[in-house]
Amino acid sequence: MNLIELENVVGGYGGAPILNGVNIAIEPSDIGVIVGPNGAGKSTSLKAIFGLLKVTSGTIRFNGTAIENALPDKLVPLGLSFVPQEKNVFTSMTCEENLEMGAFTRRDNFADTLAMVYDMFPPVKEKRYQKAGELSGGQRQMVAMGRALMSNPKLLLLDEPSAGLSPRYVIEIFETVVRINKAGVGILMVEQNARQALAFASKGFVLANGQNRFTGTGAELIADPEVAKSFLGG
């Protein structure tokens, strides 16, 4: 069964719809990557899943349950987690407090999850009592991803995790994404570094004007001359 399934999703912020029928399906073991030009509705698709904009028609199912227009405090306990592109850490709080906030919806003991996140991001452990606002861009991204993992998600939504990072960090972040996926978390991410991201994606979605243009495995999309010409810069 699909972990998440968007079927002909139409939605926007109240005015004209931004999404005009998006179809996305991800299995639990997948890394799905959404690419496309600016204003294609990539980030908006993630926000639609996370209840941050109004879905007017179509269905979104998570593990078979309909979740259109459900709010984050209901979605996080179900097993969804979202890392926004910008302002994705609590700058005035310590790294450890940031991670604790990710576990807000959990009433059980999350010490083992915390240990797992520290294991995955040693720099975060090193700076756990430092304020997240004092960290570098790459380290902040680690705190942000760590925060999202604290709720023990089944699906992690990442909005341009590599934005604004130096090439060295981009590779590191992508490697981390693959590692998280290997640990049993489905991934759906939006990426500007399209060619790099599609290279390790098991599913790729090319959006334009709020609709799917091409859908396939990452390798298929890279190999498709039309996708390469129009969306991957030749």
């Binding site: 996370f50 984050p72 405090d73 996080v76 306990p77 926004p84 850490v89 005035s92 906030m101 807000f104």
Partner: protein, 332 residues
């Protein structure tokens, strides 16, 4: 030595008491701003209302013959704080929550809170009239004197029992608030929402619950500050309306959204106001021979009537040096 004792009696005691009141009021203002992003102008009147609730409870206690080793105002304080917190929740539900739901701008909420100000003041006048009341009509204000003759002072250090209790209550409340914000899950969530409301929502934090907790804390502290102000001076319908501006100044000086900043700002402005109107002539008289001028009457930096402006002078100076306040608060 006598000059020092005079200074302690006039400045240290008065400044600490005024600072405590400002700090407790400013914490509420700053928390509400941090979570809901608007200047809650009716905060002063929530303080006055809290003072009146405590007054009514104290009167009921007196009628029932209940009294204790401390002024009745302090005995009823926990109950009054709880009642004011409930009313604060009600005010939010009735006036601010519907506006937020419709996506109102901060300025709309500000104007609404001015409306709430007028409403509360009107209701208080309707029920209690405009007369000045005192918590100490039926019981005496105990005065504590500490003999300083062992240090060569001829006068004692003097303050009243309510003044001492106010400072103790403020310290206890500030410490409890510190523990809440730094240790508890909900307190951390409150700081998180104040820091970045969108991310708090995305993290699954129950933002509606955080808003309710904010009103409960702000209401309870407003009641405490209002009652303390009424115990310190007297109770009138415009009691705290007159000090809402210095309270806002304290919150801004400390850094909007920063609870610790509000405490610091409250004491800074409380002491600054007290020092500014303090009569320096007594302290300076022993040094008359070295002074280039004759000490005749009283010497204070500003006349008492201008006390209120001191808060704004401090505000301007601090903001020139640190545009977002001492503790780096929100810029908007």
């Amino acid at each position: 030595m006598d000059q020092l004792i005079f200074f302690i009696n006039k400045v240290l005691v008065a400044g600490t008491v005024l600072g405590s009141i400002y700090a407790l009021g400013a914490i509420g203002v700053t928390l509400i701003f941090g979570i809901l992003r608007f200047a809650h102008f009716a905060h002063g009147d929530m303080m006055t209302m809290g003072g009146f609730i405590a007054f009514v409870l104290a009167a009921l206690c007196a009628a029932a013959g209940i009294s204790g080793p401390v002024p009745t105002g302090f005995i009823v304080l926990p109950v009054a704080m709880a009642l004011t917190a409930i009313i604060a929740l009600g005010l939010d539900k009735a006036f601010y929550a519907p506006l937020r739901k419709r996506g109102a701008k901060p300025v709309t909420l500000l104007i609404a809170s001015i409306g709430v100000t007028l409403m509360i003041q009107g209701l208080i006048r309707l029920f209690f009239g405009v007369s000045t009341r005192s918590f100490f009509e039926t019981e005496p204000k105990k005065i504590l004197r500490f003999d300083m003759s062992w240090l060569g002072g001829s006068r004692p250090i003097t303050f009243t029992q309510p003044e001492l209790l106010m400072v103790i209550v403020t310290i206890v409340i500030c410490y409890a608030l510190h523990l809440f914000l730094s240790r508890s899950r909900l307190g951390k969530a409150m700081r998180a929402m104040s820091d970045n409301a969108d991310l708090a929502q995305v993290s699954g934090i129950n933002t509606a619950l955080v808003v309710r907790v904010t009103w409960i804390i702000a209401g309870a502290l407003a009641c405490c500050a209002g009652t303390m102000l009424a115990l310190d001076v007297s109770l009138t319908p415009d009691l705290a309306f007159n000090i809402v501006l210095p309270i806002f100044a304290a919150a801004i000086v400390g850094g909007l959204g920063q609870a610790y900043g509000a405490i610091a700002g409250g004491f800074l402005i409380g002491f600054a106001e007290t020092l500014a109107v303090f009569d320096w002539s007594v302290l300076l008289r022993p040094f008359q021979q070295w002074l280039p001028f004759e000490i005749t009457g009283t010497i204070s930096l500003v006349p008492t009537e201008y006390k209120l402006t001191v808060a704004f002078v401090i505000l301007v100076i601090v903001l020139l040096a640190r545009p977002t306040g001492i503790f780096k608060g929100a810029a908007t």
